[in-house]
């Protein structure tokens, strides 16, 4: 089934296109929009849509998708949790937080919990070095984390409606 956006989202695509002198420049913003409206991943159908809409080859669009770490080529869990692993956070306990996350969720980095709720990932420096250790849950940062606060956040993701 072909990927399609709602009328409202199509207007957003038009608005995005109007910002740039050519269509190719809209590739990344439009891919984000599509991913957000396709359960968090860029399917082959999304690539077809973007290629058609922006008059690019599917090979070109796929080349862009594969370069950037935030485009998912397979469906993630309902929520994505990135734990920062870089030096600033590591110095404040980021390594221990990651180990705890894997134990609590029962998954390794890159995997999704069996109930499909949470995908655990690591991120490289998220520009929160003064407030580490920290995680990003979907589009929100949670900083200055203790294990207890981390557990509270994860429990909400795992058990909330």
């Amino acid at each position: 089934m072909a990927f399609a956006l709602s009328e409202e989202r199509e207007r957003e695509v038009d608005e995005i296109l109007a910002r740039y002198p050519n269509k190719m420049a809209a590739c990344i913003p439009v891919l984000h929009l599509c991913q957000d409206n396709n359960e968090g991943w860029v399917s082959p159908e999304v690539i077809d849509y973007v290629a058609r809409r922006l008059e690019l080859s599917t090979a070109n669009v796929k080349g862009v998708v594969t370069f950037y770490s935030l485009f998912n080529e397979s469906p993630p869990g309902r929520h994505q949790v990135w734990v920062c692993r870089t030096l600033g956070c590591a110095l404040r306990g980021g390594g221990d937080l990651l180990a705890h996350a894997q134990r609590k969720l029962g998954v390794r980095v890159g995997e999704t919990t069996k109930d499909g709720r949470v995908t655990l990932r690591t991120a490289e420096c998220l520009a929160s070095c003064g407030s580490g250790p920290m995680i990003q849950v979907d589009k929100t940062y949670h900083e200055n984390l203790t294990t207890q606060e981390f557990d509270r956040i994860l429990d909400r993701l795992l058990y909330e409606g």
């Binding site: 002198p21 590739c27 870089t86 030096l87 600033g88 490289e124 520009a127 940062y141």
Partner: protein, 448 residues
Amino acid sequence: MLKQTDHLTKNYGKPDSWTISVYESTGGYRAARKALGMSRELVVDEIKKAHIRGRGGAGFEAGVKWGFMPKEGEKPSYLTVNADEGEPGTFKDRTIMEQNPHALVEGCIVACYGVGAHAAYIYVRDELHLAKARLWDAIKEAKTKGYLGKRPFGKGYEIEVYVHSGAGAYICGEESALLNSLEGKRGEPRLRPPFPAQRGAFGCPTTVNNVESVSLVPIAINLGGEEFSKLSALHEMNDGGVRLFGVAGHVKKPGIYECAVGLTLRELVYDLGGGILGDRELLGVIPGGSSCPILLPDEVVNVPGDKRFDPYNGKSVLDLPMGVDTYRGIGGMLGTCCATVLSDAADPVLAAQNIIHFYRHESCGQCTPCREGCGWLERIIDKVVEGTATMEEVDQISEIASNMTGNTICAFGDGAAAPVMAFVRKFRKNFEDYVLTGGKSQTKTLVV
């Protein structure tokens, strides 16, 4: 010289600090109004006098960069703002975008005028969702007030500002990769020449400036370029004004602090940063992001033959004013000026491992020395940590790193090689102990 200032940060922490009403209540948008009433040449001249060294890490003078742009031409010119803050240890630009986004918007107005552009793209890393939202709101507020659009401040010089999202790639903070990414391509750096001022975004003359550099522009316009520059203790070294200093890691008060240029590492770590966690000893400081060589407290300034270093020769590097050229002079790098502090609780070999993992992950893969070099360095350092490396392999680290340096399309290769070489050179014994004891010499982690 410790001199805290609040030109950029005066509204930080105030309720609604990011709104136009708060911004204007403390003098916001006077500079843009003033600049659009000046000639373009005069605006550029003032910014040249301000000696704003690029705040993204390279330290190239913003005013000089503006001067490279064509006076007129067939193609439109563009301003792009590098808001892809991803250098490990760095978290300053984010504070501007979240807490004082109008400073950046106003800076964009003046900068567009100065470089002859009518459109600015603020390339923000995707993960900074709050920053992006605040910037879009600020742009909307500025447009509503007539400060952007076809006739900003009633002048016939059209200016539009857009936010453009990244998608999770550190290398897109490299200016030519940023331009490719803005164009909707893979974020792979370009060979230079041509430079962005000749062929940048969309094949057109482009200026790429860091968030903080652009945000300081209104302050420089209001004070006058020379007055702004003279706020700095390093004004004579063409390193002017004030800047945001960051400190994180094993310190009691991590954070972003605005000071006049001229602050020392000792002041940053012990005065502003509150000293070392647990009152431990200092192992070393990475002064401005992971691409900078680590500095050790017992290192001494020794730059004979350069008069400017006379007051500092023989003194600890911790007491050398943090400047672009002072740090270059001692073979170091100021970078983003956001320091990462390691106490003696930290294992330097593990720190080096953490850093090389970052670079291997983030290499775009275009050129062999970087792609292969980062991978090779990571494998060797992993072996060191596991206790299975040989002494020959430890020697190989410096050889591989030197072969990367200067042989890559962009500075990423140097940025990966330099810190690794510094760790191995300055903590040689730690690396050797791992080899000699099969990894059993590891008694510490990275945490206090």
